[in-house]
Amino acid sequence: MSTIPAEYKYSSEHEWVSPAVDGVVTVGISDHAQAELGDVVYVDLPTVGDVVAAGDNAAAVESVKAASDVYTPVSGEIVEVNEALDAEPGIVNSDANGAGWIFKVRLSDPSELDALMDAAAYEEFCK
């Protein structure tokens, strides 16, 4: 069973978004998504400073068999990326909701969060 933290918001592309802290959110892929992908062997991280729009292809998570694009659910500037994934991409499997986060975005339009699913809706969506 996948875990779906109640405090996060979710996109239909299976990314999660943390609550904003000082206007910055953390983005990762859901536990459900990592389980579907299988062993993650490479994460293509965005570049700090990139400005992205909601729906943009911002990163890629690759398993042995497939490359899967990561779309940012929110618009803004990339302020940090999870460089630990360069050396240990498997963290995305072992802790998708935590240490396996992928990038942080300074929100340009916080209202975009309202358009995302809450945990209950995402759980339903995964069924």
Binding site: G38, D39, V41, Y42, D44, A60, E62, S63, V64, K65, A67, D86
Partner: protein, 360 residues
């Protein structure tokens, strides 16, 4: 392909019960992995794994003149085989291109067991039937068997538990025997580079033997690990690395082509041998960090000249780096040649290396 035309092996429900993730492959609904590809890959390299290969095809060929006829259809020399032994071989079109690669076993005089690729069963059968002389019988027995590839250094212990008192055939050998009332075929071959055997039993008894192989210590493994294991050894996959437009010489498989005998396509091979092959299937290995190489990615020289597209590629679980194969113009096929693999617009440095990737 929709689910109505997709075929399932007799082990399908068992795969699902074991937690497998099922994917379409060559028209079949097959397990790509159970727990994880890397774990399954490492299991085969260090212990023992079992793959469902029931989707592969089996033909029986017999009757007076069978050997002489098959020797004219296939690249390797069948006359070298004694009873109970098999060889890797290729079936070519008139242009010298590969229709299929296969393993053919000699059961007795003018009596052969042939194992072909799942995706090519119908095409191979049609091609052979169209060339078959009177007096030779060709039977497609592909639906009659469940096939299990048991691979890894612990395979002999697994076999000892599975069929007590029976001795595994020697490398490339075949043994037909009866156990528990079932007619069984065991071939000492594989597609992983490890010690192993391929086990064929009546389809209706497949689940029973699959469960026994697992109980004897083999871990179920999916097509994902099968692909990464074979690519580390540079074993060709038909449809990816072999094609009707490429000859076995271009694919680096001249060792299984006897150009001193006559067979369909031989003139083209002789000409390529004399004048040089236009392209060569080379192995490349990442020299820098980058996303895993995959089928279709473009490969360039450092100056941007396009050499070709990847046929097969994977991040090697054993070596921890990207490995791939592609056809390049023969002039650029030298070991040590530096290239770039283009992944989502980024150039990942790599170089041509000697085959196989994994030296065993």
């Amino acid at each position: 392909m929709n689910s109505e035309t997709m075929k399932s092996t007799p082990l399908c429900d068992k795969h699902v019960a074991l937690g497998a993730k099922m994917v379409p492959f060559a028209g079949w609904n097959m397990p790509v992995q159970y727990k994880g590809i890397i774990d399954e890959h490492n299991t085969v390299r260090t212990a023992c794994g079992v793959f469902d290969i029931s989707h592969m095809g089996q033909f029986l060929v017999h009757g007076a003149g069978a050997e002489a006829w098959l020797n004219g259809m296939l690249t390797n020399n069948l006359h070298k085989l004694v009873d109970g032994m098999g060889q890797y071989s290729m079936m070519l079109n008139e242009r010298g291109g590969v229709i299929d690669d296969l393993i053919i076993y000699r059961l007795g005089e003018d009596d052969f067991f042939v194992v072909v690729n799942a995706s090519m069963i119908d095409e191979d059968y049609a091609w052979l039937m169209a060339h078959k002389p009177e007096g030779v019988t060709l039977e497609n027995k592909s639906d009659a068997y469940v096939g299990l590839a048991v691979q890894g250094p612990a395979c002999e212990e697994v076999f000892a538990g599975l069929c007590p008192g029976v001795t595994l055939p020697v490398r490339n050998g075949i043994l037909c025997f009866e156990a528990d009332g079932d007619a069984l075929v065991v071939c000492r071959t594989g597609y992983t580079g490890e010690n192993g055997f391929e086990f064929f039993c009546p389809a209706a008894q497949g689940v029973k033997w699959f469960e026994r192989v697992i109980a004897c210590g083999a871990k179920p493994c999916g097509l994902g690990a099968r692909d990464s294991l074979r690519l580390e050894m540079c074993y060709s996959l038909n449809g990816s690395d072999l094609s009707p437009e490429k000859t076995p010489l271009e694919a680096g498989l001249s060792w299984c082509c006897d150009l001193t005998k006559e067979f369909i396509g031989v003139e083209v091979l002789r000409q390529q041998k004399a004048e040089g092959r236009p392209t060569a299937l080379v192995a490349i290995e990442y020299t820098g960090k980058g996303a895993p190489p995959r089928h279709g990615y473009e490969v360039q020289l450092p100056d941007g000249t396009v050499l070709g597209q990847l046929c097969s590629g994977v991040l090697s679980p054993t070596l921890g780096k990207g490995i791939a194969m592609l056809y390049v113009p023969a002039a650029y096929s030298k070991v040590g040649t530096e290239v770039n693999v283009i992944v989502r617009g980024k150039a990942v440095p790599a170089q041509i290396v000697k085959k196989p990737f994994l030296k065993k």
